[in-house]
Every structure is written in C-alpha cells, then in structure tokens.
C-alpha cells in the first residue's frame, strides 16, 4: 500500500464521513426514501456551510460571539500572549543569574519580576490554557453537541479574563508586587509595593475559571449526544470534567485568600498578624488548600490531551478505559488532601507533617496508574511517529522524572533539605513546563488541522519539539543540582560556587526559547501556506474528527448516532450516520431557530 502524502489515514474508497458529502450508503435507504431526501439536502448544507470563523467576520461578531469554537480561539490567543509575556520575564530572570552580583537589574526589580513571572504563568497561562482554549473548543464537538450549556456565560468568561488581565497590568504599572506568587504575610502585609490591584486582577480572573468549570460540567452532564454514556466519552472529556470539579471547588478559596490579603495590606485588618493574636501558619493552610489542587488543575488537562494523542496516534484502544477515567477523579479528590507538604518546615506540627506526607504519596499512585496505562496502550498498537507523539515522549519522560522527585519530596525528611531551594523550582518546572507545556504543544499540533483547516509541516514540527526537549533539560536539570547544593529560591545574590550551574541553566533557556520561536513561526506559516487539512488526518475515532475541519458554526447539522466506541481501532473507521431517531420536524425547528 503506497503511503500517500498529506492524507495517509483515510482508507481509499471509504465514504468520507458525515460532515462532508456522503455518497449514498445502505444506512440511508433503510431510513426510508422520504427521509433520505431531507438527509441529502441537509448534508448538502453541511458541505457548503462556511467554517465557524467565516460565518460573519465583523469585529463585533467576534466580540459578541457565543460560539464555543470562537471563544476557544480567543482564549487560545490570549493565553499564548500570556505565555509570551511570562516567558520573556523568565528569560530576564535567568539573565540576572549569569553572575552572582547585580547583572541586569536591581534587587527590588528582580523581586517584582519573579513575582510577575509566577502570577502570569500560573493564573494567566497554565490554569486557563488547555481547559478554556481546547476544552471550550472540543468538548461540545466530542460530545456531539452544538454548543456548551450556557453560551452567554461562556462569553462572560472571556470578559472576566480580559478585565482581570487589564487590572493586573494596571497593578503592575502602579507599583507591582514583590511578595512572590504566594503572598505570605506578614511580608505581604508590610511590603512597600501596591499589592492590591494585582490581587483584585487575579480575583476577577478566578471567576473566569469558575464559570468555565461550571459550563463544562453542565455540558458534560446534559448535552451528550443520544447513546453516549459516561463510559463512552473520550478521555479528554473525562480530564476536563475532573479539572472543572477542582476549579469549581478550589478557586473560591483562592478568591477568599486574595480578598483577605487585600484587606490585610490595604486596610491593615491584621487577620494573621501575630501582634494582634493572629497565626501566620493559618494563612499558609488556606493558601495551599487552593494552590495544591491548582497544580492538579494544571496537570489534569495535560493528561487528557496525552490520553487523546497517545491513543489516536497509536491507533489503539486504551489498556483500561476505567483506569484512566477513575484515576482522573482520584487525582482530583486526593489533590485536596495533600496541601500540607508545602509546609513541612513552616512550623506546622510534626503530626500534621506525617499525615500530609503519607497522603501525598497516594496522589503519586494515581498519576502512576495513568502513565502505566498510556505506555501499556502503546503495546501492540500501530504507532505513527508524528510531532504530537514526540511531545508525548517529552511529556512521559519529564512528567515521570518530575513526578518522582515529588514523591521524593513527600518523604518528609528529604523535603527539609530541599524546601525553598532550586530543587523545588526544578521539580515544579518539570511538571509545569515539562509536562503541561509539552502537552499544550502536543494539543496544538494534534488539533491544528481541525481548528484551522491547515496542516503544519511535519519536519519542522519534529525538529522544534526535539529542540524544546533538549532546551528544557539543559535549563532545569542543573537546577536540581543547584537545589541539592543548597541554593535557596528567589535569591538575587548567590554564593560564587553556584555560578557555573546558573550559566548552564541560562544557556538552556535560550535553546528552549529558540525551539518555541521556531514552532510559532511554522505554525503561523501553515495558517497561510499550509496544505489543506483532510477531515481526519490521524484516522482517529473520536467525534471531533467526524466533522469538517474547520467545523461549521453548529458542528453537527443533525445530532450524530453514537455507534462506535471512541477508541475502537479493531474495525475500520465507520461513517458517522445521523441519528435514526432523527425527526426532521424537531431538527428543522432546532436548526432554523438558532440562538444568535
């Protein structure tokens, strides 16, 4: 079988699926001649229906859109800009560390830059990136729905994000913050920087994540196509469900913490001020009760993307669908039990340190189940090495490497040496950059054909992904050694003997930045000159590959019939037929009377 370029996975002669023109199949005849006619003309409409971004192209149509796909694209652009800003800040930080003494900026500026790097990367990129961009775009299509449950609420999340971003930038200009992204009192109550606008900005942004969470949960519960039970949903949707649960439950506690620190700093209410009877460790309890589930908000969507990409590119059913689905919820709920391991040396009681230490070990087990199932699913698969899969390898190695250092840190006595040193910086960057960012790149490349209707160039893709992987290792592996050597976090000056490793790490950031810029260039290039994407470039079985790429405004002209399990690669790709319960009257009523 000659390997054809560009469109390798569609078997020759197979009827192209429902979205595009479908030659008559026996399924239609069985549905009766009269209905065949309506079916045909509706499909006619589907073929010539314009992609979602071409429906109306006025600025106002984008600003007031309630189409989940456009909102996904807006979030994708906004979070990419946030990644750019955060990345530049990171590069500046690393420049500063080239020499133990002042290099490019003063101590006060350095403190504000590492705080901003933390705030922007955590809240403006890592938390909203995959759930708000890809979750909004693909969860409704994967469920066979036309849109999310509350479209107008979805638009509100865009504006909450924008207002949050603007208030934070105003806060940055009007004095910034130099407390680190953790805002520990009493320093956050006494700092000379005007902290409050940034806190309010992140508070408003918190509402954006809560509302996205509510939207996704209700969509998953109520808008699944007929016949798709919970156990037949794609695994990415399970991950989005888990993430939304954490977002809805954990983010309000962050909102409260931010309000309390604003009152502390602004009006000197002294909730935790020891001079007025307060206790500082209570703040750390409240903050980390949110912030540890927050790191699972950052990693669960990445796991969802990896499940999709591994199974689609290996053309293989998951080793055990239940294992991945249940471990998603395992991580979501166990994530709430382990926040104490951030406070082993903070003066918390030894008893609590023990309790939190052992609970943290169990969270590691759920992640291990997922990794075991992914690698197990590649066994006896038919794996085609494409760019998303290279990012999956980077994810697998870096996530397990970073995750295991998490287990090492949860062995309480080791954490006493490592806490607040560069070992911890390397550990969480291995998870946030190594795992979440690589999964974000994998998601971009995996869904690029579907989102933009264009194919990116495979050769450049693999080259860039290898560069990103090597750049990452060169940047963060030396930081593990720095941490072992005892180099504390957030240090502007540092002892001379650490300089060699710092220079190596800074050089690594340049390679990482180079890899990412190359990816940015060829992706933008593919927007204009890329080959037209077929409907199903990877031959995947999930529903989003059964609509034209890019999809039309209402995804499915008629709600599809769910016949094939989303990961059933043991029989050929079946054409997704309209739902036999399809009743033209209801459909016409629905399709004509569109919500705006």
């Amino acid at each position: 079988m000659k390997k054809r370029r560009g469109n390798p996975d569609i078997e020759p002669g197979a009827p192209s699926t429902f979205g595009a023109v479908a030659t008559g199949t026996e399924g239609d005849r069985a549905a009766g001649p009269g209905r065949g006619a309506e079916l045909a003309d509706l499909r006619e409409v589907a073929v010539h229906a314009k992609p979602y971004y071409a429906d109306e192209t006025t600025i106002w149509s984008w600003l007031s859109t309630t189409d989940h796909k456009r909102i996904g694209i807006i979030f994708f652009v906004m979070t990419s800009v946030a990644l750019l800003i955060g990345g530049v800040l990171a590069m500046v930080l690393r420049l500063e560390h080239l020499t133990p003494d002042p290099t490019v900026m003063s101590a006060a500026t350095y403190n504000q830059v590492f705080t901003l790097h933390g705030v922007i990367m955590v809240w403006f990129f890592l938390i909203p990136s995959i759930p708000a961009a890809f979750g909004n775009f693909f969860v409704p299509i994967m469920l066979g729905a036309q849109d999310v449950a509350f479209p107008r609420l979805n638009l509100a999340t865009v504006y909450f994000y924008l207002v949050g971003l603007i208030v934070t930038v105003v806060g940055l200009v009007a004095g910034g913050a130099d407390t680190g992204w953790t805002f520990y009192p009493p320093y956050s109550s006494q700092t000379f920087t005007t902290l409050v606008p940034i806190l309010i900005g992140v508070f408003i942004l918190g509402w954006s994540t809560i509302l996205t969470g509510i939207n996704l949960i209700v969509t998953i519960h109520t808008l699944r196509a007929k016949g798709m039970k919970l156990m037949q949903m794609p695994l990415f949707v399970w991950a989005m469900y888990g993430v939304s649960v954490i977002q809805v439950v954990a983010t309000p506690v962050l909102g409260m913490v931010l309000l309390i620190i604003s009152l502390d700093h602004g009006l000197d209410w002294g909730f935790f001020d020891p001079a007025r009877g307060g206790d500082l460790i209570l703040f750390q309890h409240l903050f980390w009760f949110y912030s540890h589930p927050a790191v699972y908000i950052m990693i669960l969507p990445a796991m969802g993307v990896i499940s999709e990409v591994v199974l689609a590119l290996s053309h293989k059913n998951p080793l055990s669908y239940k294992a991945i689905a249940y471990s998603t919820f395992g991580i979501a709920f166990a994530g709430f039990l382990t926040w104490g391991h951030h406070m082993f040396v903070s003066g918390m009681s030894t008893f609590d340190a023990g309790v939190f230490g052992v609970l943290s070990m169990f969270v590691g087990i759920f992640s291990a189940i997922k990794v075991f199932t992914w690698v197990g699913s590649m066994y006896k698969g038919s794996i085609s090495l494409r760019t998303p899969l290279v990012y999956v390898f980077a994810f697998l190695f870096l996530f397990v490497f970073g995750g295991m250092t998490g287990i090492a840190v949860a062995a309480t006595s080791l954490d006493v040496h490592w806490h607040d040193t560069y070992f911890i910086v390397a550990h969480f960057h291995f998870i946030m950059v190594g795992a979440s960012l690589t999964a974000w790149f994998a998601a971009i490349h995996y869904w690029w054909p579907k989102m933009t209707g264009r194919m990116y160039s495979e050769a450049w893709g693999i080259a860039a992904s290898i560069l990103v992987f090597l750049g990452f290792i060169a940047t963060f592996f030396p930081q593990f050694l720095l941490g072992n050597g005892g180099m504390p976090r957030r240090y502007y000056y540092y002892p001379d003997h650490f300089q060699a490793l710092h220079v190596m790490s800074t050089a690594g950031t340049w390679v990482l930045a180079l890899g990412m810029t190359i990816a940015l260039i060829y992706l933008i290039f593919s927007l204009f000159y890329g080959a037209r994407a077929p409907m199903n470039p990877w031959g995947a079985r999930t529903l989003e590959w059964a609509v034209p790429s890019p999809p039309t405004r209402h995804n499915f002209e008629v709600t599809p019939l769910i016949e094939q399990d989303p990961y059933d690669y043991s029989n050929p790709l079946r054409e997704v037929r309209p739902n036999p319960l399809y009743d033209p009257e209801l459909e016409r009523h629905r399709s004509t009377e569109r919500s705006p």
Binding site: P252, M256, F271, L282, H285
Partner: protein
C-alpha cells in the same frame, strides 16, 4: 403568557431545567467554598482563644441575631412557597411572596447595620482598632472581631445581591405573566436565597449563641 423558549441545543425543556438547576447548584457549591476560608479561620482561632471568643460572642446582642435568623427562615419559606404557587398557576400570591421575601432581606440588612453601628460606638473596628481593644488587650479580641466583620460583612453583601435578584424576579413575574412551565426561572433565585439562609443558620450560633452561656 410567557413560556420559556427551548434553547436550540437542548433536547427538551426538562433537560434545560436540569441544566439550569445543576449550573446553579455548582455555583452555590463554589460560593460555599468561598465562605469555607472564613469558617476555617473562625474554627482555628476559636481553638486558639476559646475563652476570649466566648467573651466576644457575649458582646454581640443575642436579640438582634435571633430576629435576623427568624427573618431569613421566614424569607426562605416564603420564596419556596412562591415557587410552588407559581407552579400552581397563582401568579398574584407568588408575586406578593417574592416581594415579601425581598422586604425581609432589606429588614435584615437594616438590623445588621444597626449592629455594626453599636460595635463602632463601643470602639470596636475591624483590625483591632478602637479603644475597646486598648481596654482589654487580650490578643483574642482583635482576631475575633475581624473575623466577625469579615464573615457577617460578606454575608450581608450576599443578602443584598439576593434582595436585588428577588426584586427583579417579582417584577418579571408580574410583567411577563409567567406560566407554570417558567417557574424554574424563579426557582434558580430561590435556590440562591436558601443558600444565603443556610449560611446564616451556621453564622448565628457561631457569633451569637456560643458565648459563656450564663
């Protein structure tokens, strides 16, 4: 007669109703967690300063607290029966009940502000400011009253939002002459009011009953 329009992507009205109720419940879950931070602060500091908290609680007037509790329980009952009457088709009673609930909310806010006034007059301000703290320098008092102002203040803001929503709903029922199938729209706001009442059911013993119990 107003009959709610089925959104194009919901199969039927029942599914749309369930979606609205589930969405509201999730939102109330997140609001409860929003209060959880302050509940944890109260519990933590009560364990740290048990006697001072009891003295602080004695300082709040049990009478005003109890009137507020009765008001909110009454309001919660009225709005629940309003939804029921709307389902029975009797719009007029439903409108009156919703308006009455809004009024009880306004009364609650009035009583609350008098309480705050009394505290300010005794020299108790949030953050341990005021001559009361100079007279009895026990470290537990500033923390107790700051938590008191934070928790009850946040609750009053939620009551104010609830009153606005209820007023708007009362006006909506009368203007659109809502029919029974549209009752679930009022049900959503009723859920929010029940939530506000439930939070106060816990705040009331915490700040008014668990004193030195003389």
């Amino acid at each position: 007669m107003y009959t709610p329009r089925v959104q194009p992507f919901f199969e039927d009205l029942e599914k749309q109703r369930h979606a609205a109720k589930l969405g509201m419940w999730i939102f109330l879950g997140s609001e409860l967690l929003f209060f959880a931070g302050l509940f944890a602060i109260y519990a933590f500091y009560r364990t740290l300063y048990p006697e001072t908290f009891q003295l602080g609680v004695d300082h709040n007037s049990k009478l005003l607290g109890s009137i507020n509790t009765a008001l909110l329980i009454l309001g919660s009952t009225m709005v629940a029966s309003a939804v029921n009457f709307l389902r029975l088709g009797q719009r007029r009673i439903a409108t009156w009940l919703v308006a009455a609930t809004a009024a009880s909310g306004v009364l609650y806010i009035a009583i609350k502000s008098t309480e705050y006034g009394m505290h300010f007059s005794h020299g108790i301000y949030p953050g341990g400011v005021g001559h009361f703290f100079a007279e009895n320098p026990d470290p537990g008092f500033p923390v107790f009253f700051t938590t008191y102002f934070a928790l009850t203040g946040l609750h009053v803001i939620h009551v104010a939002i609830g009153v606005a929503l209820l007023g708007w709903k009362a006006w909506w029922i009368r203007r659109d002459r809502v029919d029974p199938t549209g009752a679930y729209r009022l049900g959503i706001v009723a859920l929010y009011w029940h939530f506000v009442d439930m939070i106060w059911l816990f705040l009331w013993p915490m700040f008014y009953l668990l004193g030195t119990q003389r």
